[in-house]
């Protein structure tokens, strides 16, 4: 069969909402795009453990500590689901980890911002996980089967992350003047980076959108960003706090909130490695990987020894 025919069959399947599975024929660019997107998503989950892990020992109560540990553990699990999905596309786990540690592969820039106060844990849950959920709910319907299944599993666990964040801020928003100020400060610092999570504006895209045609993605960056702004602009009122954007205003005609321009120079600067914590995050990952090497080797040596012994016994 000719490549054009295979591509036609492939596109027909996608159009009919038939999921693509690992052993099905797929265009090389589809494989590559998925591989890049899923592995970056996996890296984001893993690096995402760092800013929050920073506060586990300093959580204000045992309850909050237990919640934070559970959330960070979930993120490790999400990383695993996603790495597994990416592996079905033909790249080894080691290769993906190597690419992360060498700085070749990217992860979500949001995790290159520091977590300065306890209120940041709330703001991350509410804003960062809130933004991630919009993207992830859409990805539950992505065309690549293993990615879609991983997303369904992740979404089931993720809503607790957003709710606990909002609730943590709610408690602060009803607290002392100092706690209120801390809450507002965290929102101020996390608002714009959260908006950047959706990526560049649609108008920055010069080509027709292949990802949408292949149903890897089903909504554009701007569409997702707008739903996020609408959702958060409403919820922030419940907290009695404000968002740091003087241009934020309900637009009766559009039935959406208008909002100000994102600082795109900052966006690209952080993507390119010059954010406040890029070096620190990668250094932490490298250290964990290197210092864990002996554990991985020992476990393998033990498993091999045990297998050899059993073989000997059987003989």
């Amino acid at each position: 069969m000719q490549v054009q025919d295979l591509e036609k069959i492939f596109q027909e399947k996608v159009d009919q909402e038939i999921k693509i599975e690992p052993r099905d024929w797929m265009p090389e660019a589809y494989r590559k795009t998925n591989l890049r997107q899923i592995s970056q998503h996996a890296h984001s989950e893993v690096v995402g453990m760092l800013p929050e892990g920073n506060w586990i020992t300093r959580a204000p109560s045992l309850k909050r500590k237990a919640i934070l540990i559970a959330k960070v553990q979930d993120e490790g699990g999400h990383g695993l689901y996603l790495y597994s999905a990416a592996e079905t596309l033909g790249m080894s786990r080691e290769q993906m980890i190597d690419d992360l540690l060498s700085g070749k592969a990217k992860y979500s820039s949001i995790f290159n911002y520091p977590t300065l106060s306890w209120a940041d844990m709330g703001a991350i849950g509410w804003l960062v996980d809130g933004a991630a959920i919009l993207n992830q709910v859409m990805l539950c319907r992505t065309s690549y089967g293993p990615y879609s299944r991983a997303m369904v599993r992740i979404c089931k666990e993720e809503s607790f992350h957003q709710r606990q964040g909002f609730e943590a801020l709610l408690v602060l928003s009803r607290g002392t003047a100092e706690q209120k100020a801390m809450c507002q400060d965290a929102i101020n610092r996390w608002w714009w980076p959260s908006l950047m999570m959706f990526g560049p504006k649609d108008s920055e895209s010069t080509n027709s959108d292949q990802s949408i045609k292949w149903k890897i993605k089903r909504k554009t960056n701007d569409e997702l960003r707008q739903s996020f702004v609408d959702m958060i602009a409403f919820q922030v009122k419940v907290l009695g706090m404000t968002l740091p954007d003087p241009h934020l205003k309900w637009n009766e005609e559009r039935q959406h909130y208008d909002f100000g321009e994102i600082n795109w120079d900052e966006f690209w600067s952080v993507v390119k490695g010059n954010g406040p914590c890029n070096k620190q995050r990668l250094a932490a990952r490298r250290k964990a990987h290197e210092e864990g090497a002996w554990v991985r080797e020992a476990a393998m040596a033990y498993a091999e020894k045990k297998a050899a012994r059993e073989k000997q016994k059987a003989a």
Binding site: E21, E87, K217, M300
Partner: protein, 121 residues
């Protein structure tokens, strides 16, 4: 075939824009084998494929599966199988394997019209 994807999505920054280093970080470690995990959600139901993970041996695979796939009471029993031991049918053969079943409607009970007096058959 060359398809350029120029649109950048969340978690999807193209390499030429990302400014990543070219220096290579290469581990020489031998990797743990891959395992497929099957979970029985409750007594009386089948084990169902839940996902996969890497582990040095079966015991570690079960322990890791417990940590990763049953944190919210999703299971009461776990099977693990090393992925290399799973054999799968070939997608290119699906026509010859599964389509013949499509025209055998007489295999289904609804194919048979029975008088109404015959209840519950």
């Amino acid at each position: 075939m060359k398809i350029q994807i120029r649109k950048f999505h969340y978690g999807d920054i193209p390499e030429e824009k990302a400014g990543g280093q070219t220096s290579y970080y290469k581990s020489t470690e031998q990797s743990w084998p891959l395992w497929e995990v099957f979970i029985r959600s409750k007594q009386g139901l089948d084990h169902k494929h839940a996902g996969s993970l890497h582990a040095a041996d079966a015991r570690m695979a079960i322990e890791n599966a417990r940590d990763v796939y049953t944190r919210r009471q999703e299971g009461i029993s776990i099977w693990v199988v090393e992925s290399k031991n799973i054999h799968a049918s070939d997608p290119s053969e699906s026509e010859s394997l599964y389509e013949p079943a499509a025209d055998k409607i007489y295999r289904h009970p609804s194919f048979y019209d029975l008088p109404e007096e015959v209840k519950h058959m």
